[in-house]
Amino acid sequence: MKLPQLSVFLENRPGSLAEPLRLLADARINLVSISLADTEQFGILRLVLKDWQAAKNVLERDGWVVNVSDVVAVDVPDEPGGLVGMLDLLAAEGVNIEYMYAFCLRRNGRAVLIFRFEDPDAAIATLARVKLAVVADNELF
């Protein structure tokens, strides 16, 4: 299933990463996953969390620009070649990945990865068809 992901615009300056995270900490909002994409001029902080609506409100109230997009959590065997095998499958099925990053969570010898697909719904259908495990939100939060 799809998970909401928050993307926060960051300027590239000292302290800009800590500020939104401190806001969430002060609001006692827990993060499940965090990833940062950056250029020399700006960055995009991507967060997956249970209370995403509350987190969005807290950030926006403080003036942060927040975008909500759907990502898909998939778990793969936590062993050499585990990810490659999965990427091969997705490529063979013609599923476009915009970006991906690893989740902080490992369980039962499996690693959880977050994917931003061009078309999340189609990708989930494909994953089910090729029998790749999509992780549900109640398993993550």
Partner: protein, 436 residues
């Protein structure tokens, strides 16, 4: 110091004779522009005519002409000759993406070449010299204006046009160019590029340079003269009036001689529109006395400078003006190109969601002007995808280039940052130090 040479007798008229000539020419031009609807209506409203002008002070009874007026009567609503009598049309950037146009008759082109020849001769150009024009040739008046001025002097012109600095240096070396025509900052680029190529810029054949097209300082003059081992001269003009040739420095290099037999120049307080005391800074307001195709009355240049009429050591009797020390509007000159913030706003309006929060930053970290547009990221612009965000930057940069002709760095900013830097009203942060 340069040998003192004066091209035309009119540069040295006794002041009383000059004033008589100006008044005669003012009446003639007022007579001629009365056929332009804009002036005809303004004259009727003010009850003025050529006959009612009794002295030069009466110029103050005439209407002003502004860039906005030119735009409102675009493209060529100020012509005093039939369209088929035009020899050339130039343009300059307007406050929107469209240029404003200026038209020249064959006689205007002769006049223009002669006005440029006057200051070129005053600044050392001789018939035996080779002069390299590194200005753009195009709608912009710099390239063509100086080109024909050099030919009028009888010197050899190398129309190198702007850009390709390495080739500029090769041309200088191969053809022995003694005179360089460009923007002052481009002269520094040439010196820097020469050094990168292992050439001592002082060994280039250059002896003189005539600079215009952008504001510069005495500190820059000293730097350019030392780096290239040349004498650098300043000249001034604007396309709406004629182009380069309104004024230029003589060998004394103590102010630029205004070509008063062809231009009646006022220096006014931009708020009260009353004349400032002699020698005080004010807005230059120029009436073209002798242009044929499109003479403008009291054109508000928006340029701030000082004017004084003390006799000059060179023997010219014409008034002199200082460097342009500022603008009364928000026009910026970036790498020699006129840019209005409203043009940037127009470019941003083409990209959904980018206005109204932006800041224009201009800086000159070394010798080159840099334009940076900082745009606040609004929620509708925010994407989780880096490629989308980069595309947004590129798109803004492309639109700014299309409208202004200037390549700009685009920075995405968090909403609060621009507020903190600039407040709501301020759109421009010019960090260059250009007024000394």
């Amino acid at each position: 110091m340069t040998e003192n040479r004066i091209l035309d007798r009119e540069e040295c008229l006794p002041r009383a004779d000059l004033a008589a000539l100006q008044l005669e020419r003012l009446r003639a031009v007022v007579e001629r522009v009365a056929q332009v609807p804009f002036y005809r209506d303004a004259f009727a409203l003010r009850g003025v005519s050529a006959k009612s002008l009794h002295g030069l002070d009466d110029v103050r009874r005439l209407p002003f002409t502004t860039k906005e007026d030119l735009r409102r009567h675009a493209p060529l609503g100020f012509l005093t000759v039939p369209r088929d009598k035009l020899a050339r049309i130039h343009g300059s950037s307007g406050t929107t993406g469209r240029p404003t146009f200026v038209a020249y008759s064959p006689a205007d082109l002769q006049l223009w070449a002669n006005l440029c020849a006057r200051f070129l001769v005053a600044g050392g150009l001789r018939p035996e010299h080779t002069a390299q024009v590194a200005f753009g040739y195009g709608l912009f008046t710099g390239g063509f204006g100086l080109h024909y001025g050099i030919e009028r002097v009888g010197a050899t012109v190398v129309p190198a046009a702007s850009g390709n600095t390495r080739r500029q240096i090769e041309l200088m070396q191969d053809l022995g160019s003694e005179v360089l025509i460009c923007t002052p900052s481009y002269a520094l680029t040439i010196a820097e590029t020469a050094r990168e190529l292992g050439i001592d810029p002082r060994t280039l054949p250059l002896k003189f340079a005539h600079f215009g097209g952008e504001p510069w300082t005495e500190a820059m003059r000293a730097q350019i003269e030392a780096e290239l081992d040349i004498l650098a001269f300043n000249n001034y003009g604007l396309s709406e009036v004629i182009g380069p040739g309104v004024s230029g420095e003589c060998a004394a290099r103590a102010g630029m001689h205004l070509q008063e037999d062809h231009f009646l120049v006022e220096c006014l307080d931009p708020d009260s529109l009353e004349p400032v005391p002699e020698g005080e800074p004010g807005e230059l307001v120029v009436t073209a006395l002798t242009k044929e195709a499109m003479p403008l009355l009291r054109y508000r240049t928006r340029d701030i400078a000082r004017i004084w009429r003390e006799p000059c050591a060179c023997g010219r009797t014409t008034a002199r003006m200082s460097r342009v020390t500022g603008r009364t509007d928000d026009m910026l000159i970036i790498r020699g190109v006129n840019v209005y913030p409203s043009q940037i706003e127009e470019a941003l309006l083409r990209v959904e969601g980018t206005t109204p929060h932006y800041l224009i930053e201009v800086d000159r970290p070394d010798i080159r002007d840099e334009l940076t547009i900082r745009v606040e990221v609004l929620p509708e612009l925010m994407s989780d995808r880096m490629d989308q965000m980069q595309k947004l930057r590129e798109r803004i940069g492309r639109e700014v280039l299309t409208v202004t002709g200037i390549r700009a760095a685009v920075e995405l900013a968090a909403p609060r940052t621009l507020e903190r830097f600039a407040g709501k009203a301020k759109r421009v942060n010019d960090k260059r130090r250009l007024s000394d």
